[in-house]
């Protein structure tokens, strides 16, 4: 790294230090010592390690330098909220509740919390810290590993608000909870650090959707962390949809803690963003747990979409299945880094990993890296990756039946993506995702024929 870039990066870190002092004094719950300590620990850890570089094995294919060098400013009070109309076009039809966060902060006027069954709380973290600090203290920060994740440490230092969902023992929450994170255009580069906590008690069921969007352009970083606790025998689906504008930076970490026979599905759909890093880190901590990690990333232009999985098998008889499909056009760069750790006692682990990629141009690039670390002796781990192009044969077949070239391309893109969509349960979220994918495939097909959609 050049010396001026080092200087820029350390200036940026100094900028975070500057804002941390004031933030720590005024942030929600600043009077709670455990919370003050949590933030302090986060900040100390971040200051120690700074931003990762490509020398770090976990960041080999993604250079966070572009993020490290920008003096992002924390978005705080004083700006006007978007209108209902601005937000409505992003809403997911069929959601039971919709929480809206604008630049990381809860916007009650734009949120709609539907009628919830007894035992379900759908709220925002800042409010719950004030109302119910013991319940938050019990989980917040307990699962995220700040030691290995500088962005997670930074998020923890500046944690302020985000979604809080709690589902009591035995309760089934049928309608999905949609959480919309809106980044608005600012005069100078802006950062926000949403922090979500989802706690599903024993034998409960819920579906949570995180949906990241932007209003306007502008340089922005959304650095988000979600801790998801899936207690014994719970069934949880989590969706992460990234569709910010193609100049935005988005780093997200989903840390899942699974209990006995808990069944968790994580679905990631990356469509937007300039540089996106999506960490999914489940720990199968109880016997018989099942985890599906399903993802689709579609990049064009100069987008960089990095999917980093760390699947930890910490108990016997658990299964994990990773399926990621990537479509890359233009100069887009995709990364699939699938790390599986099977701990010593996790006998009878069944871990599977598949990454399929479709490259639509000569300059698109994919790095795919399986990384298996197995310390138990009776396990089954498989992995595979493929890279291909759009088949001329298939295109001709469709066209020979009367389907025009653009539609044929769009159909083949949707077909490739449908493998991932088919793993999502049928219902409002899948319909929402399908619509986004169809629209996106249309734009991609049009762009590849040099037309403007």
């Amino acid at each position: 790294m050049g010396s001026d870039r080092v200087a820029a990066a350390s200036q940026a870190i100094a900028k975070y230090a500057e804002s941390f002092g004031g933030f720590q004094k005024s942030a929600p719950g600043h009077e709670l010592s455990w919370l003050r300590k949590l933030r302090q620990d986060g900040f100390v850890r971040f200051s120690e390690v700074g931003f990762p570089t490509t020398r770090d094995e976990d960041w080999r294919f993604t250079n966070p330098g572009a993020i490290a060098q920008v003096p992002f400013r924390l978005v705080r009070n004083g700006h006007s909220l978007p209108s209902q109309k601005d937000i409505d076009r992003f809403r997911m039809p069929g959601a039971g509740s919709q929480l809206v966060f604008v630049d990381g902060r809860f916007a009650p006027g734009l949120s709609l919390v539907g009628k919830l069954p007894a035992g379900v709380t759908v709220s925002n973290l800042a409010a719950e810290i004030a109302r119910n600090p013991e319940a938050i203290e019990k989980h917040l920060g307990h699962y995220l590993n700040m030691q290995r994740d500088a962005f997670g440490a930074l998020n923890t230092a500046f944690l302020e608000d985000g979604a809080y969902v709690h589902v009591a023992k035995g309760v089934v929450l049928e309608a999905p909870v949609a959480i919309l994170f809106v980044s608005t255009e600012q005069d100078s580069p802006a950062v926000n650090h949403p922090r979500n906590l989802i706690v599903a008690e024993e034998n409960s069921q819920a579906t949570i959707v995180e949906d990241y969007v932007s209003l306007g352009g502008g340089q922005a970083l959304c650095n988000t962390v979600t801790e998801l606790v899936a207690a014994d025998h719970s069934v949880i689906s989590h969706y992460m949809i990234e569709r910010e504008h193609t100049g935005a930076f988005n780093v997200s970490t989903l840390r899942i803690q699974q209990g006995r026979t808990a069944d968790v599905s994580s679905h990631s759909v990356l469509l937007g963003g300039a540089l996106v890093r999506n960490n999914v880190h489940p720990v199968l901590g109880g016997e018989g747990g099942e985890c599906l990690i399903n993802g689709l990333f579609i990049g064009n232009g100069r987008q960089h979409l990095d999917n980093y999985m760390l699947v930890e098998h910490a108990s016997p008889h658990c299964g994990s299945r990773q399926f990621y499909n990537g479509i890359l056009d233009g100069h887009a760069h995709g990364v699939f880094h699938g790390r599986i750790i099977v701990h010593k006692d996790a006998q009878k682990t069944d871990a599977k990993q598949t990454n399929r990629n479709l490259l639509l141009s000569d300059s698109a690039q994919i790095d795919t890296k399986p990384q298996l670390e197995i310390y138990a002796d009776d396990v089954k781990c498989t992995h595979g990756a493929t890279i291909g192009q759009m088949e001329e044969n298939s295109l001709f077949y469709l066209r020979s039946r009367g389907i025009d070239e653009m539609s044929a391309r769009r159909l083949l893109l949707v077909a490739f993506a449908s493998e991932c969509m088919d793993r999502m349960k049928e219902g409002p979220v899948r319909t929402h995702v399908e619509k986004l994918i169809h629209d996106h495939a249309f734009r991609l097909a049009a762009a590849s024929l040099g037309r403007v959609a």
Partner: protein, 254 residues
């Protein structure tokens, strides 16, 4: 006016001239067969007519319904009423057979200024055509040709033809890899579609299919040229004597 009029068609692949001046005329209502040994250019002719862009047409002219076929894209040729039943139908995972067929039909209807057909009208029509080819309903919800048996793939081609109702259907070695029962079913499907407005071009290596789909004319294609044309009896003669008589050099005397 002929429905299809091929004049002196010349096609190159890399440095080899595969078609060396093909001439052929077909009228609506007729069934013709092109027979020839492997490598004679049969499939090239079929693919060029369906407008596959990987072939380099170096000379000649093709009029389809009076229009310049060689100026058309594959989808335009299809919308104008040309259909190719593929020798090797393509598997397309992720697109259901029913969705594919409806997309194709609606693309063609749209081109012709007709209203698009919704699923309510489309499915009953499709079920009826399935019966004609003795095909299982389940094939509709499966991905196009994916994990279909060889016979199912070929039947699926004829199903598409039945749905799209072309003016000219070209069957490229539809008989290859079919057992006798499947061959009969496919042939019955094709025969059910014979009518005075439609022409069918059966491209085949063997005569057997022509026992079931009896052609009006048979043409022998050898080394990129049609060396002989005749009635259905010519197919039997070829079955009996083989293509040996038309080996290299023999074409010149035809």
């Amino acid at each position: 006016m002929s429905l299809l009029d091929i004049k002196d068609l010349r096609v190159r692949v890399e440095d080899r001239e595969i078609l060396q001046g093909v001439n052929l005329q077909m009228n609506a209502g007729e069934v013709h067969s092109i027979m020839g040994p492997n490598g004679s250019g049969k499939s090239t002719l079929a693919q060029v007519l369906a407008r596959r862009e990987t072939y380099n047409v170096t000379g000649g002219e093709v009029l389809f319904n009076g229009k310049d076929l060689l100026a058309m894209k594959p989808e335009e040729a299809a919308c104008e009423g040309l259909f190719l039943a593929f020798q090797y139908p393509v598997e397309i995972p992720g697109i259901s057979n029913a969705y594919f067929l409806r997309s194709a039909l609606n693309a063609i209807r749209k081109y012709r200024g007709l209203e698009e057909m919704d699923a309510m009208d489309f499915l009953p029509m499709l079920r009826q055509k399935l019966k004609l080819l003795d095909m299982d309903d389940k094939l509709l919800n499966r991905s196009v040709n994916e994990a279909f048996s060889g016979g199912e793939k070929k039947r699926n081609e004829i199903l598409q033809m039945a749905v799209l109702e072309p003016k000219l259907a070209i069957l490229d070695e539809t008989d290859s890899g079919l057992d006798i029962d499947a061959l009969r079913i496919v042939a019955e499907g094709v025969n059910a579609m014979r009518n005075p407005e439609r022409a069918i071009l059966v491209v085949t290596h063997y005569q057997r299919l022509l026992n079931y789909i009896v052609p009006d004319r048979v043409h022998v294609l050898v080394e990129g040229r049609i060396v002989r044309s005749g009635g259905p009896e010519l197919a039997l003669e070829l079955e009996d004597k083989g293509y040996g008589a038309y080996d290299a050099g023999a074409g010149a005397s035809a």
